[in-house]
């Protein structure tokens, strides 16, 4: 792979596109890192309730005001609340997550396989790992959206036939949103749904490490 991957969406625009994927009125958990940005791109009129696994239902996004050490999201960032928010302990929070009460989760990814396996918690070269609530969310969220860069810094595809990195959970991903494309994970494999502005379906396929079904018409993302 001597050629360089195309320049796609910024992290912010990936987050914006992921935000568009959320249903009005739904309850959504956002992973640490890029997914956290999603909260900044939802329309408050849509009534989306963000859940933080440390015990909040109904935070509005990262707070611009003073830091209160007791009012943070799962990434440790200060947050504001929406009217109708509630607090609870970790046991209740994960009962909510694992019991299937979260409509959607947006998580980061290291690799996603053609059948929807997710690896996002352990980099073998670094070891140890930090798992947080990722495995619980991958198993428990009704819809799992992975938001990530399409390729690694070294230009290797992150969407692969089979994950080499240790799994977070098997067959859990529903949608992959990257700087290049929106890809649905279906029972019969990966299907290209949208491309980023200026990116062709062929380019997406070129930088995807697994078979990708390309419908006759693939619209460009509306951003």
């Amino acid at each position: 792979m001597a050629d360089a991957p195309p320049i796609g969406l910024s992290r912010e625009l990936i987050a914006l596109r992921a935000a568009r994927e959320l249903e009005p009125g739904s309850v959504v958990n956002l992973g640490i890192g890029l997914p956290t940005l999603v909260a900044g791109f939802v329309d408050s009129a849509d009534g989306i309730m963000f859940q933080a696994e440390n015990g909040i239902l109904g935070y509005a996004g990262v707070s611009e005001s003073d830091f209160d050490s007791d009012l943070i999201n799962a990434g440790g960032q200060p947050v504001d609340l929406v009217p109708g928010a509630s607090f609870f302990d970790t046991a209740e929070s994960f009962a909510m997550i694992r019991g299937g009460h979260i409509d959607a989760a947006v998580l980061g990814g290291l690799q996603v396989s053609a059948r929807g396996d997710l690896a996002n918690w352990y980099v073998p070269a670094r070891g140890g790992g930090s798992v947080g609530g990722a495995m619980d969310l991958a198993v428990g969220a009704r819809k799992l959206i992975v938001a990530m860069a399409h390729v690694t810094r070294d230009g290797e595809p992150r969407i692969v036939e089979s994950c080499e990195y240790p799994l977070t959970a098997g067959r859990c991903v529903d949608v992959i949103i990257t700087d290049l494309a929106v890809i649905d994970v279906r029972v019969d494999g990966l299907v290209l749904r949208e491309t980023a502005p200026g990116i062709s379906a062929e380019q997406v396929a070129r930088w995807t490490g697994a078979p990708l079904q390309i419908p006759d018409v693939v619209p460009e993302m509306a951003l």
């Binding site: 050490s69 302990d89 970790t90 140890g128 798992v131 495995m135 428990g140 098997g170």
Partner: protein
């Protein structure tokens, strides 16, 4: 018995022994018993196992690594994939001086709950088909597979709440509950640092987050501000 009131966090943790398993409440900056952690550091106890959501994320738990007091951490966030801002714990882990048992957050809290509630284990789908399932029993019930996770308890628990009353009832503020209420149920000796101690009856019964029955010791401390800078 009503909770015993201590004047200093050092006195409150003084009889935690070398080799003890210590549950540490809190989630990054929220509901984190920083004064008790620092008192445990000053106690010089060694060979400790810490059970905590995180270490080295702006919390002060990593301070226990300065003099190698931790043999082992059971938690969910410990080694950051990004490699940014490595912790003392990470260095000791890499040098083989400290062990890490990484546990999914929902599994960690349910294992603690089982330990506190007299249950024999947790049957979960979290971790099935992953490294987390290695060496663990998988039960098949009505055609579905479940990973069996065992209960977890501590010799002591260090908690942070907003207020305590003289009986030991604890009231949390905002997202300060997190691991604290369950850890309160799952240790032989439960010690809570609080910002204020009030008379019994001043915390409305609806706002008691940890009933007094669970709490052995309370100590009033000025909170130590901590923050995760990412």
């Amino acid at each position: 018995m009503p909770a015993q009131r201590f004047d200093s966090p050092d006195d409150a943790v003084a009889d935690i022994r070398d080799g003890a398993t210590v549950l540490v409440g809190g989630f990054v900056s929220a509901g984190t018993p920083s004064n008790l952690i620092m008192a445990l550091k000053r106690s010089g106890r060694t060979g400790l196992t810490a059970v905590a959501n995180n270490i080295g994320l702006g919390d002060l738990l990593d301070e226990l690594c300065e003099h190698r007091q931790l043999d082992r951490v059971i938690g969910t966030f410990a080694i950051r994939a990004s490699g940014a801002r490595t912790s003392r714990f990470e260095a000791q882990y890499r040098a083989g001086e400290a062990a890490l048992e990484l546990v999914p957050q929902g599994t960690l809290i349910e294992r603690l709950r089982a330990g506190g509630a007299g249950l024999g284990g947790v049957l979960t789908k979290t971790g099935l088909g992953t490294m987390m399932a290695e060496g663990k029993q998988v039960l098949e019930l009505d055609g579905e597979q479940w990973l069996l996770e065992r209960p977890l308890r501590g010799d002591a628990a260090l908690l942070k709440a907003w207020r305590a009353d003289t009986l030991g009832n604890l009231q949390y503020r905002l997202a300060g509950k997190n691991f604290n209420p369950v850890m309160a149920t799952a240790a032989d000796l439960v010690i809570a640092e609080v910002e204020e101690i009030v008379e019994a009856g001043e915390i409305p019964p609806e706002l008691v987050g940890t009933p007094a029955v669970y709490v052995d010791r309370i100590v009033q401390c000025e909170p130590i501000p901590v923050r995760w800078e990412g």
